[in-house]
């Protein structure tokens, strides 16, 4: 990790000295992690690819403001999250993935076991995944990003707050709201055995 940090800083010095190609090493090294978080936030492969490219472009333009004592991986990760947040905030939510509040009652009749993983559940897992994705789309961009970072990226409240540019308590509240909404969305699916 330390070695990677030193290599990153060496590449940044080279870029700032006029060697544009040195930035390629940084792109190659960090593209995969950026794509992962971008996909989890946007939920869309094409959007995630765009976010990765946009993040590296923004990072390149801001590189002279990068502080030498920082970690480039963390820095570019935050830029990517901001890009993803902007993207899901700016786009219209695809209606195909939206589950309206007044959904068709027939939809709510999809029932799964609460704790046991029975055959029915396995058969319906694909549909559950789609509903989960729809529930995720029902969140605000901030809630979705906070939930992804907390639940899937295993980031701390402080890290989420730093990425979102909000106070830690606000970040925590965003996670609370996201979980509450998601559970509410999926509650019709749950039945007791």
């Amino acid at each position: 990790m330390v070695r990677m940090g030193q290599e990153d800083h060496a590449a940044i010095r080279a870029v700032l000295a006029g060697d544009k190609d040195a930035y390629g090493a940084l792109v190659v090294r960090h593209s995969a992690s950026l794509f992962r978080v971008a996909f989890r936030i946007t939920g869309n492969e094409a959007d995630a690819d765009d976010v990765v490219q946009e993040a590296f472009l923004r990072g390149y333009r801001k590189l002279d403001s990068f502080e030498s004592r920082s970690n480039f991986g963390t820095w570019i990760y935050r830029i990517a999250v901001r890009c993803a947040l902007d993207r899901i905030g700016g786009r219209k939510v695809d209606e195909r993935h939206r589950v309206a509040e007044a959904a068709d009652p027939e939809q709510d009749q999809v029932q799964v076991a609460d704790h046991a993983a029975g055959p029915d559940r396995l058969l319906l897992s694909g549909e559950i995944g789609a509903l989960q994705e729809a529930a995720m789309h029902s969140l605000t961009p901030t809630e979705r990003t906070a939930f992804v970072l907390r639940h899937m990226e295993d980031r701390t409240t402080e890290e989420i707050a730093a990425v979102l540019g909000v106070a830690p308590n606000a970040a925590k509240q965003a996670v609370f709201r996201a979980v509450h909404k998601l559970r509410l969305r999926l509650s019709p699916l749950r039945v007791s055995i």
């Binding site: 010095r13 870029v15 700032l16 000295a17 006029g18 544009k20 190609d21 930035y23 390629g24 792109v27 190659v28 090294r29 960090h30 593209s31 995969a32 794509f35 992962r36 996909f39 989890r40 939920g43 492969e45 995630a48 690819d49 990765v52 490219q53 590296f56 472009l57 390149y60 590189l63 002279d64 502080e67 030498s68 609460d114 704790h115 559950i128 989960q132 907390r150 639940h151 899937m152 990226e153 925590k172 996670v175 609370f176 979980v179 509450h180 998601l182 559970r183 999926l186 749950r190």
Partner: protein, 265 residues
């Protein structure tokens, strides 16, 4: 017993260590059930695995953006600036401290000089001498002490020169004054030797002899004794010497100041 609300359950779900909620869950079946339901719900949301990207993905990203990137102007100064700022900050702080210390020292020194002058004011200065002359405080005190001693000695010698041996009222105070001046005269004489001033040392030596004669005389001072002392004074030209030394003091100080201003600076 207060039950845990949903926020507390969520916080406990994402916490890594053992917290108060854990103890409560072990004792409260209702909250334990609620927590189990939360755990089940959130367990459904497994981390979304992104579509696989091949090993060349990073290169692909790089090739897609490389044409959009301008070449950075060499900014060595930027890195220099990042590294120099802390150093410049320290240097500025040190310079500020030095300036404050210098200013405080000047103020303190100025006040010390004023105090010394108030306590032992100088006699009237030479008319051609500037009013505010920068003299080191220690030297000024020494000069003032010597000046005062010579002043008193001169008065004593004048009175001794005109004293009448028949008048006890005149002679008795002279002996008291001589005893008082004797100790100071010896200190001044030692200092004169230390600073290598033979004229001053010699004059103070003569003065010492007269003062000792006058102070140590047992019994009353006879007319013969007084005449002998007056003759010694006249022979040595002691009163004249003291007056010359007395008048030299301002000049000595002026010479030293001029020497330090012209030679050392």
């Amino acid at each position: 017993m207060n039950h845990l609300n949903e926020e507390e359950l969520i916080e406990h779900y994402y916490s890594t260590g053992v917290d108060a909620a854990q103890e409560h869950l072990e004792q409260c079946a209702q909250c334990a059930e609620a927590f189990a339901a939360l755990k089940s719900d959130l367990g459904e949301f497994v981390a979304i695995e992104p579509p696989a990207r091949n090993a060349a993905y990073g290169d692909q990203v790089w090739h897609s953006i490389t044409s959009l990137l301008p070449v950075h102007e060499p900014r060595k100064s930027n890195w220099l600036r990042l590294n120099l700022w802390p150093g410049l900050g320290y240097a500025a702080a040190c310079a500020l401290l030095a300036a404050i210390a210098f200013s405080a020292g000047r103020q303190w020194e100025h006040r010390q000089v004023q105090t010394a002058v108030k306590v032992t004011p100088l006699p009237a200065q030479h008319p051609q001498q500037p009013a505010a002359e920068p003299v080191p405080p220690r030297e000024r005190v020494v000069v003032v002490v010597l000046s005062d001693h010579l002043d008193r000695s001169e008065r004593l010698l004048v009175e001794l020169k005109h004293a009448d041996a028949d008048s006890a009222e005149t002679v008795s105070p002279l002996r008291e004054e001589a005893r008082s001046l004797l100790a100071a005269n010896r200190i001044c004489r030692q200092d004169a030797k230390k600073i290598d001033d033979p004229d001053l040392a010699e004059a103070l030596g003569h003065l010492d002899h007269v003062l000792a004669e006058l102070a140590d005389r047992q019994g009353s001072l006879t007319a013969a004794d007084l005449a002998r002392l007056q003759n010694e004074m006249s022979a040595d030209g002691l009163l004249f010497q003291v007056r010359v030394l007395r008048s030299r003091i301002p000049n000595r100080r002026t010479d030293k100041t001029a020497r330090s201003e012209g030679g050392e600076i």
